[in-house]
């Protein structure tokens, strides 16, 4: 089974200052989701809006569960 596309993109983006700047400049969550999809496309990684939103939810959940 291949790697989760969002995870694959995360690994690329954390080391890519230009991609990081693009994503940081997104003004709200919807713009951010679109930007992630675009950055993914530029890297040859297809990511869906649902995957991005679920990724955000998962990261939020992981943060909130850190004391559990």
């Amino acid at each position: 089974m291949g790697e989760d596309p969002l995870e694959e993109l995360r690994r690329l983006v954390v080391d890519d200052a230009r991609a990081r700047d693009r994503l940081l400049s997104a003004t709200d969550r919807d713009a951010f989701v679109l930007e992630v999809i675009e950055v993914g496309g530029d890297c040859g990684i297809e990511v869906s809006p649902v995957e991005v939103i679920e990724g955000l939810r998962g990261a939020r959940r992981r943060r909130s569960e850190r004391w559990v």
Binding site: L6, V14, L23, A26, V36, V52, A59
Partner: protein
């Protein structure tokens, strides 16, 4: 040592995960973020409201932390703030955090994660140095003094912290124990919840912990912190700061010890911070010592008398001795 570029520049370690197994360090991209909230965790929560910082995290092992420390050494810590909790230590940290030239990290959980990482002391010393180096990456070019406020129970690891940073100045903030105990009983801190920390750290067996009243457990935990501080103070490795010395002691005693220059501008900033509640700066500071003593139950007073009174008096005796010296 000069700094070179490193992939972790702009990133801050926010958690040490996997205690008991392979440990991983979780990093958050914090470039452009000031650590000026009362607590490190509040700054990270603020940071993670940004979807990029939330979604695009990093995870490394300690090897990457070590490499980052060698390539991009952070500021050397000039001061450590130890404390017994609920005693003014957050005010102290917040006053320094208001100064643009001072980097303050207030109770970063990654330091506790290292101290409790279950490896030998030598490895913990190395890991602590690397972690403090990563936390000490300056947020502004002019930042030089670096102050770390630790979790209350970190005083139990004083010797190890001292070994890692023999040149840093250490202070211990404390307060009338009945006032601290009343505050803890009203809202427990992590260290005063039975079972969160090993009872042996407080000189207790598991059975003793389970059979103790809340008043006695809290008092036993606080007493252990104070006893560790007293040992360090008697070894001349730590300066004692009583709550009632605040806020004046910040500019008159602690800042000079930490090598922080305080002029009229800094005093004005300090005064503004002291007017607000340190943990919730949107509300004004209200002195609550009298009210806390009034609310103290007979059980709380008995627990203080049995477990905390003597060590508190010893701290006071030592502190007054310090001050009486010519």
């Amino acid at each position: 040592m000069t700094k070179r570029s490193h992939a972790l520049q702009g990133w801050t370690p926010i958690a040490v995960e996997g205690a008991g197994g392979p440990t991983a360090i979780r990093w958050c991209f914090t470039e452009g973020v000031e650590f000026d909230d009362p607590f490190f965790e509040q700054t990270i929560d603020r940071c993670l409201r940004d979807p990029f910082r939330l979604l695009f995290w990093r995870e490394t092992g300690f090897d990457a932390l070590a490499e980052f420390a060698s390539v991009s050494p952070g500021l050397r810590p000039t001061g450590f703030i130890f404390h017994m909790s609920r005693c003014g230590s957050t005010l102290l940290a917040q006053m320094f955090a208001r100064l643009p030239a001072v980097l303050v990290m207030s109770e970063p959980p990654t330091v506790d994660g290292v101290l409790r990482s279950g490896v030998g002391d030598r490895e913990r010393v190395d890991r602590l140095r690397w972690m403090i180096s990563a936390l000490g990456q300056p947020r502004r070019v002019e930042q030089a003094p670096f102050v770390v406020k630790l979790d209350a129970w970190s005083i139990l690891d004083f010797a190890l912290i001292r070994t890692a940073f023999p040149d840093a100045v250490c202070v211990f903030v404390y307060r009338d124990p009945i006032e601290v105990l009343v505050s803890q009983l009203a809202r427990r801190g992590y260290h005063t919840i039975p079972g969160t920390l090993p009872p042996a750290w407080f000189g207790l067996s598991a059975g003793e912990m389970e059979s103790m009243s809340p008043e006695h457990y809290c008092a036993a935990a606080l007493a252990s912190l104070c006893e560790s501080a007293l040992r360090a103070a008697r070894a001349n490795e730590l300066t004692l700061i009583h709550y009632r010395m605040l806020p004046g002691a910040v500019s008159d005693t602690v800042a000079p010890l930490f090598g922080i220059d305080v002029g009229s501008a800094e005093r004005a900033l300090f005064a503004a911070v002291a007017e607000r509640d340190a943990k919730n700066p949107v509300i004004p500071f209200v002195a609550d010592g009298v009210e806390k003593r009034r609310r103290a139950s007979p059980a709380a007073r008995a627990a203080v008398d049995a477990r905390l009174g003597a060590v508190y008096e010893s701290l006071e005796h030592h502190r007054r001795g310090d001050h009486d010296r010519p």
